[in-house]
């Protein structure tokens, strides 16, 4: 009966109404990819349309149906699904952020001697010095990093010497960037705790959605049922049956 376990993916209300019937059909089907896809998309559809599978109190008289729970745009099933999708989206975002963070310092590090020889050979387009770190852009588009002594005496002189010997069009762009430790420290602390913050926010969101969906919903329904019984729309027997079903 493993095939029937796929029916557990359907929303509770839908199952109460249709599970026995659809289960009888599922038992007749050979287990196949087609069946799994069929039931998965059916369950997804049922979650997107929580108004389907509303309990019918009309019974065998077939005189019409009492809309017990009119579809509301924020029914618990729909909001749970939305939350689930949101959760996936946030996890994907978090993953991308993490990947981005771990990618950033991936500039290849080379020795200062290699950079100096590249400058001599005219293979360098630009040099940016930030504190004890120099970022070098080569003429073929690659970028690399090297560590220089602070204060720099070697690299700046190599660039100046090279530029003096070449026409302006081929000169190396050379600049100093002020280090901004404040931003980088604060920024990296923020980025490193961001996944944690996201996780906490998610847990809080999920908890509040769960509390809302579990809370007064079915008692409201019960109160409405009681009202219908008082007005004589449904019999006492029907009321008891629905009550048992609701409180199960």
């Amino acid at each position: 009966m493993r095939r029937r376990s796929l029916l557990r993916l359907y929303p509770q209300r839908w199952r109460q109404r249709y599970e026995d019937e659809i289960g009888a059909l599922v038992d007749e089907e050979p287990l196949s990819v087609g069946l799994v896809v069929d039931l998965l998309s059916g369950a997804f559809d049922a979650h997107l349309h929580p108004e389907l599978g509303a309990p019918s109190l009309a019974g065998s008289t077939g005189s019409g149906q009492i809309p017990l729970a009119p579809p509301s745009p924020s029914s618990p099933a729909a909001s749970t699904l939305r939350l689930f999708l949101l959760l996936i989206a946030l996890f994907v975002l978090g993953g991308l952020l993490y990947a981005y963070r771990s990618q950033t310092p991936a500039l290849p590090s080379v020795s200062l001697a290699q950079v100096l020889s590249e400058i001599q050979d005219g293979r360098v387009r630009a040099v940016t010095i930030e504190g004890s770190r120099a970022t070098v852009v080569l003429t073929d588009g690659r970028t690399e990093q090297t560590t220089i002594p602070e204060p720099d005496t070697v690299l700046a002189r190599a660039v100046t010497d090279r530029n003096r010997a070449t026409p302006p069009a081929q000169q190396i762009a050379f600049r100093y960037t002020a280090t901004s430790p404040d931003f980088s420290v604060v920024g990296s602390i923020f980025l490193s705790v961001l996944p944690l913050l996201l996780l906490v926010a998610l847990i809080l969101l999920a908890a509040s959605a769960f509390a809302r969906s579990r809370g007064p919903q079915r008692y409201e329904l019960l109160a409405r049922l009681g009202d219908l019984k008082d007005r004589g729309v449904i019999t006492d027997e029907e009321f008891q049956r629905e009550k048992r079903r609701l409180l199960r």
């Binding site: 289960g23 009888a24 599922v26 039931l39 389907l52």
Partner: protein, 100 residues
């Protein structure tokens, strides 16, 4: 409710029930016989739930696994106008093909 667009599965179910009330299993076989299309349990009951919510079909009795469904009056009207629209479409298509 009758103005909403019917899915092809819904039309097949309505046509199947136009003959006589049927339960899900009988619908599945009847639909395969008349259209050559086999509806999986998920798509069949997805369409049944929609049709029932729109009051185009209704369950006859509470027979558990073999609950029969029948067309409601609104279901008959909806099917009838749907078939009329299909007839017009088929005729238009045939005329255009003949004029080529």
């Amino acid at each position: 409710m009758g103005s909403q667009k019917l899915s092809s599965e819904a039309v097949l179910i309505l046509v199947s029930l136009a003959e006589e009330p049927k339960h899900g299993y009988a619908m599945q076989h009847d639909i395969e016989r008349i259209s050559g299309r086999r509806l999986g349990p998920g798509s069949l009951y997805g369409a049944i739930a929609r049709l029932e919510a729109a009051n185009l079909i209704e369950a006859l009795s509470d027979k558990g696994t073999r609950r029969p469904y029948r067309l409601t009056a609104a279901g008959s009207r909806t099917l009838s106008s749907e078939l009329e629209a299909m007839r017009r479409l088929a005729a238009a298509g045939a005329r255009r093909l003949a004029a080529r």
